[in-house]
Every structure is written in C-alpha cells, then in structure tokens.
C-alpha cells in the first residue's frame, strides 16, 4: 500500500480515492477487531490468573486470631467467604423484635400443650430459626423470661469457651491471665468452668459472658443485634431485671472458634458435654458401626479414654461438631449437663440411661412432673445426631456437613457452605452430588417422608391426648398414685417417644423407618395406658371362657366338597 501507483495506471483519480477509502475502512475494521480480541484475551488471562491464585491460596491471614477470639469479625477478615455464609444464616437480614418471632408450634399442634403440661415448653415453643438467632431467640423466649433456667443452656447457644476456661482456671486455683486465655484451649479447664457454671442461674451466666473478653477489646458492635435484656418484657425468671443490670460488652452466638482451631483451622470438638458423651458411648457397647474411630478404639488397648479430637476421622468430625448440640441431653439445674449415650444412640438406649440415673442427691431422675396427671416424665431435646445415626445416610458414611454445609465452588476454590440450612434449600449441591436424580423428584421424595412422619406424629399426639383424658378420668374417679403407677410408666414411655420425634428437627427424614417405629411404639403405649385407665374405672370383666368360637371351615360350600378318600 506504500507502493506508488504505476505511471500509466488506468485507474482514474476518483477510483484511486475509492480504493484508498476501502483500504482505510479495512484497516479500521482490523484495528477494532484486534482491540476487541485483545481485550477478550486479557480478560481470559486475568480470570485464568485469578483461578490459579485461588487454587493455590485458599485464604490470606491478614489478622491474627487466637483462642480468645470469640468475636467472628477478625476471622471474617481472613475467611470472608465462610464468614459471609455464616452471616447468611440470618436469612439475608436480621429479623429482630417481637413481631418477627417465628410461628408458635403450640398453636400449630395444640396437643403439644397437653404433652408439656407443667413444663416451661407449654408456655412458649416456636419454630426454629437459623444459627444467627440462637442467642437472640434464647434471650427472649418466655421459657427464660418467665421461668428460672440454668446457665447450662448457654453451653450450646453462645460462644462460651473463653468464659469456661477463665472460670475453670480460677476454680483450679490458677491465675487467669490474657496469655493463658489466648494461648491454648485447655480442655480440662473448659470442662471445669462448665461444671462451675452449668447450675448457676441463666441470667448470671449471661452477664458473665457479656463481660468476658472476646478478642476485640474496645469494639462492642456485634454482627447480629443482641437480645434486649430480659426479653421483650424486661424480666428474667418472672422477676423484673434491676435497672442497673446493663450488659457490658458483647456476647456472641456460636461462632468460628466453637468449631475451628484458630491455629490450624481444622474442625474440633469444644463442648464438654460431647467430650463426656462420646466417651460414654465408646466405653459402652451400643452400636457404633457408623463411627469407625470409636470401633477402632474399642478394639484397641483402651488405655486412654476416647478423645474425638485425637482419634476421629475428618469425615466423623464433620458430624461430631454438629453433635455437640444437636442431641438429646439433660440440661437443668439438678445436675450437670449430661448426654445419655452410655448404652448406645437409640431412643431405647437413652431411655434406659434416664431410667437408671439418679440425681446427685439420690432422688429419682426425671425432667418434669406432668402438670395434669403428676407422672414423672422425660423431656426429649432435639436428637438429630442420634436419629441420623439410625439412618441410611449415616450408614453410608454421609456426614451432617455433607448435606447441611455442602461443598460449593467459588471460582477454582472448593469451600464448605457455611450457611447452615435445610438441604432442601440447596438440592443440587446437597443431594445431587451423590443422587443422579432430578431436583424436583428429590424434593418430592423428601416431602413424602416428611408428610408421612408429620401425619403419624399428629396421630400419636391424638393418642397421647386420649390417654391423658382417660388417666384424668381415673384420677377423678379416685385412683391413687399407687393405682396409677403402672399407667404412669406407660404414659412416660408414650410421651418420651412422641416427644423424641416431634422435637427432632428433620420430620423423620434423618431415619424414616426408625421414626415410624418410635411413633408406632408411642401410639401403642398411649393406647395401652388409656385402656388400663379405662379398665380401672370399668366393672370387672366377665369370664370369656364360655363364649363360643367359630371353628375353621373350608371355602367350598358344604355338600359339594369331594368325599374324602
């Protein structure tokens, strides 16, 4: 194009100009395309670079966190994605205040009021919300504001390890220094501190928790709003909160440090209740075929007690961290918090432990005296870990986190979703990783199990109600405590089984056949108790020996049968 046109070119001047314009246009087009292509290639290059960086460096530790850092915010600077997930458990934004409280279960299932008669759960019992609400909702429930409760409740609803360690060190006669609090976990001190506090009044332990250092001195702006002192009525245990009782500092719901080692980030067990419970399970002979490290320990020398933090596999830990709280336990002020796992993890095993247990003062163990009949009853908490242990997923080696905190991809990073929630909110990551089935079909399978379990639960609720009516009628007719003792035994069994499944938070999904078995037993015990109570009032039954019964007959009409040879 820089060549001179030949002298005797037959192109005319306008022709040359047109050709030149064409060249310029072509050049311009090439220029634009090349610029666009360069931009695209640069974009690809940068994404590639980012992904390679992500694959190499899952996180950058920009601030130090140690054993004192219960405040999740510094952790959030190092692990922003996990922190964002954790914050998402609020459901987007935090819904505080009395008008935002979730629906009352007592209104949805009125038989619950009869079941819990005489117990604080009959006052206020609502649908559960996400992890973000655990401390807030506990602080405002009327079970706490109207009735005296124990500090043990905070074992699971707050980030308490620093408080426990501090109180424990003091009780063990050691000097409490910031260095000692921040340098190591010190399980013996944590267990000791927990024992010191578990029977103290709830509001006192909560106040101590507010005053405990959380690793961010001078910063008292919590991630989620804190519950108003004394709930919505300004009361604890039915008493007005003193005007000078203002909380100082921050208290956190369960945060990063409660499941993670601040040094290595590996997941760990921090709760004294679980440490003791899993030890009891290992030492007993209940079925633990889904927990390989427990079986291994049983087969070994047993010189040292079973310690999940040392022996459990990574996959087991992905359930154990959840099993620190999502379990059945005793949690009131007559003895320390106890997990009933010595005989095994089934509903019958736990019942056996409670039946054989005594309070430290030598009296018979029970959770509450039923407000109507006066029978001594057990209250089931929320045995998710135990029911999961009976189901097909546990048998197949699937952990809690596999479904409730499934792995997700962020660019080239594989992280565990810290928005702990129902797997139904995230079917593709939670279920489809293993189940090669359409999402709608999977949802329907789950709904079928849950609908059947709820229908069965309501049926068992009706049976319990009928039983209570029959027992009350017997009482009104003059039955004494001694007369009713065998009926009370049945009442306790029926209520324990119904409560076990209705309080468990999977509507039977964690082990559907086991849930059905337990509910069937509940209905059976309810009806047995009802029949026994009715019989107590009924006149003596007549003798049935003399009644004629029908002998066996063939189906062929008489006379037409072939004669016997």
């Amino acid at each position: 194009m820089f060549k001179k046109a030949p002298e005797n070119s037959n192109r005319t001047a306008p022709g040359r100009a047109r050709a030149q314009r064409g060249n310029v246009l072509l050049l311009g087009l090439v220029f634009v395309v090349a610029v666009a292509a360069t931009a695209a290639v640069t974009y690809v290059l940068i994404t590639m670079f980012t992904h390679k960086q992500e694959a190499r460096q899952p996180f950058v530790r920009v601030v130090e966190v140690d054993e004192m850092t219960t405040d999740p915010e510094p952790w959030g600077q190092n692990w922003p994605r996990q922190f964002d997930g954790w914050k998402s458990t609020s459901g987007g934004e935090f819904y505080g205040g009395s008008s935002a409280m979730p629906e009352s279960k007592l209104e949805q299932q009125p038989w619950l009021k009869r079941l819990y008669a005489g117990y604080a759960f009959s006052i206020d019992y609502r649908e559960a919300r996400g992890h973000a609400y655990m401390l807030y909702d506990q602080g405002v429930t009327e079970r706490i504001t109207q009735k005296p409760q124990a500090g043990a409740c905070l074992h699971c609803h707050a980030s308490t390890t620093v408080l426990y360690r501090s109180v424990g060190l003091e009780a063990m006669g050691e000097e409490v220094t910031a260095e000692k609090l921040s340098s190591e976990f010190n399980m013996p001190a944590v267990i000791r501190g927990f024992e010191e506090l578990s029977q103290q009044p709830y509001q006192d332990v909560l106040a101590m928790l507010y005053a405990t250092p959380d690793g961010t001195p001078g910063e008292n702006e919590p991630v989620f709003p804190q519950a108003p002192t004394g709930g919505f009525t300004g009361e604890y245990a039915g008493q007005d909160v003193p005007a000078d009782h203002l909380p100082l500092g921050e208290a956190h719901p369960v945060t990063c440090i409660d499941c993670h080692d601040p040094e290595t980030m590996s997941i760990r067990v921090t709760r004294p209740g679980f440490m003791q419970g899993i030890r009891d399970l290992a030492e007993g002979d209940g079925d633990a075929s889904h927990l390989p490290s427990v079986e291994q320990w049983r087969a070994g020398s047993r010189k040292e007690p079973y310690d999940p933090n040392k022996l459990a596999t990574r996959q087991e830990m992905r359930s154990f961290t959840c099993g620190q709280c999502h379990v059945e336990y005793y949690c009131a002020n007559k003895t320390t918090l106890t997990f009933p796992w010595g005989e095994g993890l089934t509903v019958d095993d736990a019942e056996q432990v409670w039946n054989e247990m005594e309070f430290p003062d030598g009296t018979e163990f029970y959770d509450y005296k039923h407000g109507e009949t006066g029978a001594k009853a057990f209250k089931a908490q929320h045995p998710e870990f135990e029911l999961w242990s009976q189901g097909i997923h546990a048998r197949s080696g699937v952990s809690c986190a596999d479904c409730h905190m499934p792995y997700e991809r962020e660019g080239a990073m594989k992280i565990s979703d810290h928005n702990v929630q129902s797997p139904m909110e995230n079917i593709n990551n939670a279920c489809q990783t293993c189940h090669n089935v359409d999402a709608d079909e999977l949802r329907k399978r789950v709904e079928t199990i849950q609908e059947r379990t709820v229908a069965m639960t309501n049926r068992a609720g009706a049976a319990v109600t009928d039983m209570l009516d029959a027992i009350m009628e017997a009482k009104a007719a003059g039955a004494t405590e001694a007369d009713l003792a065998p009926i009370f035994e049945l009442q306790r069994k029926a209520m324990w089984r119904l409560d076990y499944i209705s309080s468990e938070n999977s509507k039977g999904f964690h082990a559907d056949q086991e849930a059905a078995r337990i509910l069937a037993e509940s209905m059976d015990y309810s009806r047995q108790a009802q029949a026994m109570a009715l019989r107590w009032r009924a006149p003596a039954a007549p003798d049935t020996e003399q009644l004629e019964t029908e002998p066996v007959k063939g189906v062929t009409p008489e006379g037409k049968a072939p004669a016997n040879p």
Partner: protein
C-alpha cells in the same frame, strides 16, 4: 501546480501510514498476548490425549481423582470415553466442548454439580460399544436407532464413581 491537491494525498497517505502502524501494533499485541495466554493456560495440552489436561481448569479435578482409582484407569483415559473414535467426530467434539467449557468456566455460568449433555452422553455410549460391542451385541435393539438403556445406566461407577 496548485498547492492544495498536492497536500491532500500527502496528508491522507500519512494518516493511512499511522493507521497501518497502529493496526500492526494492535495485531502484534494480540498475537503476543494470545500466545502467552495459550502457554499460560496450557492451551496446547488440549490437543493431546493427556487426561491431566482435562483437570486444567479445576472443575474436573474430582472426576480425575476418582478416575485414577477406577476400573478403567489402565485402559481408557478421558478422551477414550468422551470423544468419538473417528477423526472428524473427535475434533468436532473437542472443539465444541473446548469452547463451551471455557466459556462456562470463564463466565461462571453453569449448573452444579455439572451434568453431561445429551450429545456427549451419546458419545460415551458409542465409546462403550467401541470396545465392548462384541460382548453386548445380543443386547442391542434389532433395528438401528431402536430404544435401549445406556450402558452407564447400570455401570455408572466404571469411569469416575460418585462423581457423575
């Protein structure tokens, strides 16, 4: 001669020259950057049969890890099952998947867990038959294109178990 007509071609020739240089520069930058990106992203490895190339972009890592422990590890790599065994089909499938996988991963717009497309499903079925055709001949439909189950309907664990 009048000055103006002389000047006109000179100035337009100069601007053409500037434009030409600019185009050469941009094309050069594109060429350089493109070559670098191709090298940085291990682009040429996609032309080989090396199974590690399939895990280049991180998405297939789990599938690769599972394949390493699979029954077919010693007899079939990724391409042996996921590419047709004829020349044209192989390179069309490679180009098709290469482009759409790169697009999906770069934009982040894809369904998780990843699922095989119907076209690629037909390719894997063809690959099963390529090796095992004689064995299963009597199981196949009598007419061409007749209805039948895919081999992986039952044998889903042969390639990369638990990562489908």
């Amino acid at each position: 001669m009048v000055k103006i007509p002389v000047r006109k071609p000179t100035s337009s020739r100069r601007s053409v020259r500037i434009l030409s240089v600019a185009v050469a520069l941009v094309v050069g930058v594109l060429g350089g950057l493109g070559t670098f990106t191709l090298g940085y992203g291990d682009g040429l490895s996609y032309l080989t049969n090396d199974p590690t190339a399939c895990a280049n972009c991180h998405i297939m890592q789990d599938h690769f890890d599972s394949w390493v422990k699979s029954s077919h590890r010693d007899v079939a790599a990724c391409g042996d099952c996921h590419l047709p065994h004829d020349f044209v089909g192989k390179w069309i499938t490679k180009a098709d998947n290469g482009f759409f996988h790169a697009l999906a991963f770069t934009t982040g717009n894809f369904y998780e867990p990843i699922q095989i497309k119907p076209r690629n499903r037909r390719v894997t079925q063809g690959a099963c038959l390529h090796c095992h055709g004689d064995l299963v001949d009597s199981l196949r439909p009598a007419e061409h294109g007749g209805d039948m189950q895919l081999c992986v309907h039952c044998h889903s664990d042969v390639g990369h178990a638990l990562r489908r």
